[in-house]
């Protein structure tokens, strides 16, 4: 067993490493654009308009209330038909991941904004600050402290969730496992290698986030 793992690693490590690169890249793109979209959704959800609030609440609830694998299939099938130009499988999957992530990020950001002391809003309003200026200069800078650690966790979650992209053979770590497994027929050793890599990455990331959290608390 150990022999097989070493053998496979020595022979196919570049496949695993390029898979790891694919995973990190996918997770990063997803969380980056998911954050931008999620911020918009969160602000809409906090808006005074009941209609806008209801639409965004539905958006968040549906995306959080259905399996991510289902969403990947849905966008993978829908987007090529709905869009007038050609979209690759990878593009469909990335879009689906971004939209899924945006719903979780939106909740993180909404909670972060609402955790800012109400007195801050009252002070800004009493000075006659516009809503947009207040959000941008007073509330969001303070909310970031609440939001950043949670966004880091979302990144860790995404590192794992992107493994679902292997169903559609989008290049990432789990797809690397499939590639190696299908040429060597040694499933358990290659799966073990992939598992170890996932664990090392998420473990390092989680520790990094804890450290960041402690630093931010210290600066309060």
């Amino acid at each position: 067993m150990i022999e097989n793992i070493i053998k496979i690693w020595n022979q196919y490590y570049f496949v695993f490493l390029s898979g790891l690169w694919g995973t990190i890249w996918l997770a990063f793109i997803t969380v980056f654009f998911g954050t931008i979209l999620g911020t918009v959704v969160a602000l809409m959800r906090l808006s005074k308009s009941k209609v806008v609030g209801a639409i965004t609440t539905a958006y968040v609830e549906v995306l959080r209330g259905t399996p991510i694998l289902l969403q990947l299939y849905f966008f993978w099938l829908l987007l090529p038909k709905a869009l007038p130009f050609d979209v690759s499988d990878t593009a469909c999957i990335i879009m689906a991941l971004i939209i899924n992530s945006s719903s979780y990020v939106a909740e993180v950001i909404r909670a972060g904004i609402q955790a800012v002391d109400r007195g801050q809003t009252e002070a800004a309003k009493s000075l006659g600050m516009s809503d947009a200026h207040m959000m941008r200069h007073i509330i969001l800078p303070q909310a970031v402290k609440n939001i950043l650690p949670a966004l880091g966790n979302e990144f860790v979650v995404m590192v794992k969730e992107t493994s679902l992209a292997s169903v559609f053979f989008v290049g990432e770590l789990m797809t690397a496992y499939k590639t190696v497994q299908s040429t060597t027929f040694l499933a358990i050793p290659s799966l073990t290698i992939v598992g170890v890599i996932y664990f090392i990455v998420t473990f390092i990331l989680s520790k990094g986030i804890k450290l960041m959290e402690r630093r931010m608390k210290a600066s309060d």
């Binding site: 009493s126 000075l127 006659g128 600050m129 200069h137 303070q142």
Partner: protein, 249 residues
């Protein structure tokens, strides 16, 4: 002390009602604040004092009644309330200074953003105001380095930087350590003497008696008695006023 109080009503309140759920916090209040007047609002907790004050700049939305500021009805839904709030400063019990901004930025951010004041000009003015309250050496600090009394003086300066026509004080010394109360009261007193229109909710009876032109005693969501400080503190007529004062004086 010779002070000019104009006949002009700066704030006029007509039939103001406010409910929190089933609770009638304000029951049909009619009142006016004249230009240059210093008005103290006293009364037991839960009497609606703070709610009344917070209705004046619509931080609380009245359920009924109208409020006029400078003869403009600010309870009218069509007006841009932000513009009117710029002329009504407010100072809070818990300071509510902006922790993500330096002392200087706390003061200059609103004039720069909302009045398009030039940065240099806003900072010049902020420096003068900071000097007046003895905080000039803190201009580049963040609020977490300030004591409660210093934070409250910063909050006052922040309100003053917008050149307000009135400042509303909501229990400005209630959250302060005793030794800091005087610094803050001195600043407010200075403002009162300079002719600023002030409405202040306070538990500092000595202060209210000393600086006010008029004292309102609130209880049970209504103004039960009003008069000069000498009338209210020296010779109260309403039994509730008498009872309240006997407990706090």
């Amino acid at each position: 002390m010779t002070k000019q109080i104009s006949d002009k009503a700066l704030i006029r309140v007509e039939g103001l009602c406010k409910n929190f759920g089933e609770l009638n916090v304000l029951k049909n209040i009619n009142q006016q604040i004249r230009l240059g007047e210093v008005v103290s609002i006293i009364g037991p907790s839960g009497s609606g004092k703070s709610t009344f004050l917070r209705c004046l700049n619509l931080l609380e939305k009245p359920d009924a009644g109208r409020i006029f500021f400078d003869n403009v009805e600010i309870t009218d839904k069509k007006i841009n309330i932000d513009q009117h709030r710029q002329k009504m400063g407010m100072v809070f019990q818990h300071f509510n200074v902006f922790p993500n901004l330096t002392v200087m930025q706390n003061i200059t951010i609103t004039p720069i953003l909302e009045r398009k004041t030039l940065k240099a000009e806003a900072e010049q003015k902020a420096s003068e105001l900071l000097e007046r309250v003895g905080l000039l050496d803190k201009r580049d600090e963040y609020p977490r380095k300030l004591s409660g009394g210093q934070k409250q003086r910063l909050a006052i300066v922040r309100a003053l930087a917008m050149d307000p026509e009135v400042i509303l004080f909501d229990e400005p010394t209630s959250a302060l350590d005793p030794e800091m109360v005087k610094d803050v009261l001195d600043v407010i007193k200075g403002l009162a003497e300079s002719g600023m229109t002030i409405v202040i909710v306070t538990h500092e009876m000595g202060f209210a008696r000393e600086v006010s032109d008029r004292v309102l005693f609130m209880d049970d969501g209504d103004i039960q008695e009003e008069g000069t400080p000498d009338q209210i503190f020296g010779n109260p007529q309403n039994p509730r006023t008498k009872e309240f004062l006997s407990k706090v004086l």
